[in-house]
């Protein structure tokens, strides 16, 4: 052929640019901790950090899948709180923790379905839809609980998830680790996973390639609802109580920052589960470190906001979608 040029390696520089920045950020944070707050590395604190990472990571996995397909789900924390509250109320009333846990999952799935339906079928804007469900759902959970936290849950429920069967590692961490591995594999190697990337990269081309776009979008929100439900179970067990306050604004920020720091593009089509977990780790350590160094929680919000903006700004793509 006349114009055959065998191009060298792939030319997409941006994931590596983000990766470099996030690696530098991680190292800088760890060094700062080593110097200013060596207490961080104590066993108990590390387990504690791992627990936080797992719960944030679980929500970040849900968000990652939605973002890969090209959407966003701001209702995740509110969704978690709603499930937790409903399940906890049931448990407290009946003492049946298994059904209570199922209720948490079901609530998550249902809200995810509503989001997915609104985006995929009613063609509403994902950001706005999930902002709306976030408000409605968190309003509902405040209403249901009268803003009080629901405690005195069945001991078996708490014991089950609070157990540390393996080298002192809590069940929660193990569950999330296994799940993350599973989802990572499915995103890489299942038909649905490939479809998700294809729709996120270019939905027109995906349509020509016979991919059922609507179903893929719907499924991504249902999946993130599932993750919210799972988080509800694990978080409730860990705290020993459920409250509407589980889903405050700050959590959304944490999830979105975990994803963008972990290389998940808000413009869709790129990102991986391990990356999002790394992002969750970095964000948790960052919060933890700021806390140990004595930076107030409020100031740490500013840092996280700046991190998100910086990472989205270096994402090579321009503003194309809302």
């Amino acid at each position: 052929m006349a114009v055959t040029q065998i191009a060298p390696a792939p030319l997409f520089a941006w994931p590596s640019r983000q990766r470099v920045v996030s690696a530098v950020l991680m190292i800088a944070t760890l060094v700062a901790i080593g110097v200013y707050a060596p207490n961080f590395f104590r066993y108990h604190n590390i387990i504690n950090v791992l627990l936080q990472v797992s719960l944030l990571g679980l929500l970040a996995i849900g968000m990652t899948v939605v973002m890969i397909v090209g959407g966003i789900d701001l209702s995740l924390p509110a969704n978690t709180a709603m499930g937790a509250v409903l399940g906890a109320l049931y448990m407290k009333a009946t003492g049946d923790w298994a059904v209570g846990a199922l209720i948490m999952i079901a609530a998550g799935l249902l809200i995810g379905l509503v989001n997915g339906f609104a985006v995929a079928r009613l063609k509403m804007i994902p950001f706005v839809v999930t902002l709306a469900t976030m408000t409605v759902v968190s309003g509902a959970s405040v209403w249901v609980t009268n803003s009080l936290s629901i405690s005195q849950l069945p001991d078996t429920f708490i014991d089950f998830f609070d157990a540390r069967p393996l080298l002192g590692v809590p069940v929660t961490v193990l569950v999330v680790a296994v799940l993350a591995g599973l989802v990572a594999m499915l995103m890489r190697s299942s038909v649905a996973g490939r479809w998700a990337y294809a729709v996120g990269i270019n939905d027109r081309a995906a349509r020509v390639a016979r991919i059922p776009i609507g179903r893929v979008i719907l499924a991504s929100y249902v999946f993130s609802g599932l993750m919210a439900g799972l988080t509800a179970i694990l978080l409730t067990a860990r705290l020993g109580s459920a409250s509407a306050n589980m889903g405050n604004d700050g959590v959304v920020l944490d999830i979105v920052s975990a994803c963008v720091v972990g290389g998940v593009s808000i413009y869709g089509g790129s990102g991986r589960v391990p990356g999002a977990l790394f992002g969750a780790l970095l964000i948790t350590i960052l919060s933890n470190a700021m806390n140990l160094i004595g930076v107030s929680y409020y100031l740490s919000l500013i840092v996280k906001g700046a991190v998100i903006i910086a990472f989205v700004a270096i994402d090579g793509r321009k503003e194309t979608k809302r």
Partner: protein
Amino acid sequence: MTARGKTSDFPLQHGFFVVFAIIFIFFSLATQHFFQLDNILNIFSAMDPLAITASGLALVVMSGRLDISVGSTAFLSCAIGALLMNQGELNPVLAAIIVVCCGALLGAVNGFIVVVLKVNSLIATLSTMIAYRGMALALTDALLVQLPPPIRFLGNTRLGPIPLDIFVMLVVLVLVHLLQTKTAFGRQIMAMGNDIAVARKVGLPVDRIGFFSFVLAGALASVGGILTTIQNGAVSPFLGSGLEFTALAVVVVGGISLLGGRGAILFSIIPGAFIFEMIRDGLTNLGADPYSYRLIGGAVIFAAMYADALKSGRYSMRRRL
């Protein structure tokens, strides 16, 4: 085609007023206190901060973007003003000016991130929403900041039977309305909201227009914040929390499309804000659980957004034909 379009659009175009009337009549019949001049004036007075903030947000929405940091902008700028008055013993008028400047500055930061760094406006303002709130909470230690005694009771001022802040709202809204409908800047915002690529092609300075729409949104949010502060006599750590969403809802319920380029300030914001305040007031009069308000308000919003998506879908379809 025009005739057919009109009949099929009827429920969408006028649905809002039907719903409005039903709710209004319901509350009037169901409670004793609702349908009284005093109560109606109260509703108007209570909705002022929301309406003013929403008018600023509306400008950004009309330009085809979103700003969900307005609530936090109001909080941060008012917190700064209140602290300056308390600790620096600043003159209240000067403090108010500084508050509005702060609001404009925070809006300018948003504008910079969106226009220069080219970060999607949703993500940008989601981040600043939480960052601004964090800043304000850090400044106030998350405590209530009381206004100095002389102006603490300014919120009760009335002009005859009518609370003063209603006039403030009307003046501000009329000014923003004139800006949007009668000035070149306002029309160019609308042009940009129609299609930013076309606006650029036609030769409009879309970056500058976009930047200033954020600046105005920030300044107006801080004006709304000042009214809230005066009404409460203090800056509470919850000032503006959730306001971004209610303001967005007011914009949409009032008929300003989230896809940009459509609507007018005065005739959208006033009924939009009134309906929300009316629901809150009516529920209180009914003796309903105050927490139920968010849920019912949210449901109204969802319906309004769905109607908007539907309407916009039809418009775009018509445009293609």
